[in-house]
Symmetry: none
DNA sequence: CCCGCCCTGAAAATATCTTTCAATGGTGAG
DNA sequence: CTCACCATTGAAAGATATTTTCAGGGCGGG
């Protein structure tokens, strides 16, 4: 590579984004060379011409920009500004979603969905923050006509679990995989012959031995200000949504009308002016 | 946008990477239109000309490839494979988080946090899916020593709302901004002189007139299989998390010990082997 | 000091993009 | 139903950007 070509290559490497905005003429001028040299440089770098180098440059710049944005990996600190908090939280949850999606075993998911579709009755167990996730799932399943119940009271959960039998489904949600109050009802359901599903961050946890299908949530890093409950929730909800969509797809004939029916029924409570 | 321009825009949206490789003439030919139309489309899309659209396209394609972002625009369909469903859901929720973070008014957020920090008592109103979001917020606030209650029963909510007074905070959560059962309690709290906060997707909705501070959630596109409840939840939870972190930051002295205390208290229920 | 090779940029040639303008087809008033 | 009008469209001219050509000139070897 000759001297003037090096100057061009250097300018390009230095500021891809800036150079992507320049025409051959402008880049030649900036580097104190000629158009011909710029084109020759582009060729040397392996592109058919300057036009293509420029496109590649724009792409590179975009990638860099994208890679730089998630540079907010830093933990949320006590003295962060509110703007930082919003940005960091959003980013952490996005990361959490990506991790979960990447780590989710679709075979297990498929099996769990199949079980739900054919279930006579569905029980969901969750305690604390996981209880809300369980309620969310149940709300959704009810909307498409399935019979589902959520239990956060350990005793009632066990009481209900023993009512289950083969063909029914029990779902336990626990981040740690060791929450006794959730494991016990799942075990009861398992012993009754029901199909059992565990949504947990620890697929090797105690709960695994009573679960026919394990859906793994991302074991996100937690910080002092942001306890695990917070990120595990995001992850769990994604799994729950996947389950719901999967079931809705496979029962579309009945799910679609049920969804609109529940919407219609609520319409007048949403906006009284809409009349009934 | 005219018909032939739509054809061009569609082709571009369909395959950004492919179109980035085409010249005006080639793209015109592929879409069965003329160069003039392509240029016009580029202008309509906000670029000075086709050249710039092309650069932007290359950048977009690179970003997509980098972020492994799959078919961005595609809706979840009934016949999507489970792998597609997981990818699309995760992506949609990520998008939703980004939208929410971008659209959140940090000034309003800051005010709401300040109100929460000094509150004698906090009431949260939410119905249906929003009720779970409210419970999530309350769980978190309780953990750091604040006095908070969540109400999903409209009558009880109003009953509680009238107990509030200046210095207290009432938070209403409604995606539509028109849920009467949630507006009424907020109004009651407002009339009592409490500081009122609305978490809603419609900052111009009926609820706005009784809200001192409005936190806007992203009004995400919903599809048939994915009702609004689903994406609004993601958005609402981010706002709730921001509130929580904000409050925790400002009450760090008391919040941190409270957080670890609640963790300790639960330790033996998580894993009986840990002893008590 | 001279020769010849290779680097280099000015300018011509080409490709690409943009603008203009007339033809077309659709729409609403008469 | 007809006409006038306007929006839409593409062909072609015009402008710009890119590529190629070619000649001047620096530099090492003889």
């Amino acid at each position: 590579m000759t001297r003037s070509m090096q100057r061009v290559a250097e300018a390009v490497a230095q500021d891809p984004a800036g150079c992507a905005a320049l025409t051959v003429t402008a880049l030649a001028e900036r580097t104190g060379t000629s158009e011909a040299t710029v084109v020759r440089t582009a060729r040397t770098l392996g592109y058919p011409g300057y036009r293509d180098l420029r496109l590649a440059l724009a792409a590179l710049a975009a990638q860099q920009a994208a890679g730089r944005a998630p540079a907010v990996t830093a933990d949320i600190a006590v003295d962060d500004s509110i703007i930082d908090v919003v940005a960091k939280l959003a980013h952490e949850e996005q990361q959490c979603l990506a991790d979960t999606a990447a780590g989710l075993d679709t075979t297990q998911l498929e099996s769990a969905i199949a079980a739900l579709v054919g279930a006579r009755r569905i029980d969901v167990y969750g305690i604390g923050a996981s209880s809300l996730v369980g309620q969310d799932l149940v709300q959704k399943l009810l909307r498409i006509g399935l019979i589902a119940h959520s239990h956060s009271d350990p005793h009632l959960a066990v009481t209900n679990a023993v009512q289950l039998r083969a063909g029914d489904v029990a779902i336990a949600i626990t981040h740690s995989g060791r929450t006794t109050d959730v494991i016990e009802p799942l075990r009861a359901a398992f012993d009754q012959g029901a199909t059992t599903v565990a949504i947990t961050g620890r697929p090797d946890g105690d709960i695994a031995q009573y679960a026919d299908h394990i859906l793994t949530t991302s074991t996100a890093r937690e910080s002092e200000l942001r306890p695990a409950a917070m990120s595990s929730r995001t992850s769990q909800l994604l799994v729950v949504d996947c389950l719901f969509i999967g079931v809705a797809q496979r029962t579309y004939e009945t799910a679609a009308p049920a969804l609109s029916a529940s919407y219609e029924a609520l319409a007048h409570r949403r906006d009284p002016r809409a009349g009934r």
